[in-house]
């Protein structure tokens, strides 16, 4: 594929959807493992929650929230493309998806700090 074909918002939206999906799938087993520490008692869950209060972990969590929001908004964009009439607002949809994802990440970070 030529650079011209790749250097388009829709192509980067496609890449972001694949990358965010893959990273979220890799993260899920760790997420489930962390939650299941609650099964063995509140003390283990508390120890884990203490560990998450480090600035770098909070930053990584913010990244994950942005990835989740990006996969959600990117997915809604795809569903709209596939099931609604062929739109002429494709670039706007990419921009809107990116904007909402970053806003959600910021909302998380401001509340987590």
């Amino acid at each position: 594929m030529s650079w011209r074909a790749r250097n388009h918002p829709s192509y980067w939206a496609f890449v972001l959807h694949r990358v965010s999906g893959l990273l979220l799938a890799v993260f899920l087993p760790f997420h489930f493992w962390a939650l299941s520490t609650a099964i063995t008692g509140a003390a283990r869950l508390d120890a884990f929650l203490d560990w998450t209060r480090q600035p770098l972990v909070t930053l990584a969590e913010t990244g994950l929230v942005i990835l989740l929001a990006a996969h959600l908004t990117g997915g809604l964009r795809l569903l709209a493309l596939e099931f609604l009439a062929w739109p002429n607002w494709q670039k706007s949809a990419v921009g809107l998806s990116a904007g909402i994802s970053l806003a959600v990440g910021l909302l998380f970070l401001l509340n987590a700090l």
Binding site: W33, S36, G75, A112
Partner: protein
């Protein structure tokens, strides 16, 4: 895989996406509410334990996520690698099953 089976995977991916659109939105709102309220094990467990509505929500959420992730991983593997045939289908199904069991175990542990 037959064209019929591929069509089913496409339908599963879109149907789970529709469920996940709502579930992820609720999950993000819950995340922001939870971190705002302060995360501690007693606070988390007080909110979750014995809450069967949330248990039902997360059982459905995990099922949709496990199916969506498995089909998505298969798509990415087939796009980026030469891996084809029943082995890639089987590996993707195993990924789905693993996420389903791990996710349901965590949800039942937290909410039941």
């Amino acid at each position: 895989m037959t064209a019929r089976a591929e069509t089913w995977l496409w339908i599963i991916q879109r149907a789970t996406a529709a469920v996940l659109a709502l579930a992820v939105l609720i999950h993000i709102v819950t995340i922001v509410y939870a971190v705002r309220a302060g995360l501690s094990a007693p606070a988390v467990l007080a909110r979750t334990q014995g809450n069967l509505w949330w248990l039902g929500f997360y059982l459905v959420f995990v099922l949709a996520t496990a199916l969506h992730a498995g089909v998505g991983l298969r798509t990415i593997l087939r796009e980026l690698t030469p891996w084809r045939g029943s082995s890639v289908d089987g590996a993707s199904a195993c990924a789905s099953l693993f996420l389903l069991v791990a996710g349901w175990r965590a949800a039942i542990g937290l909410f039941a």
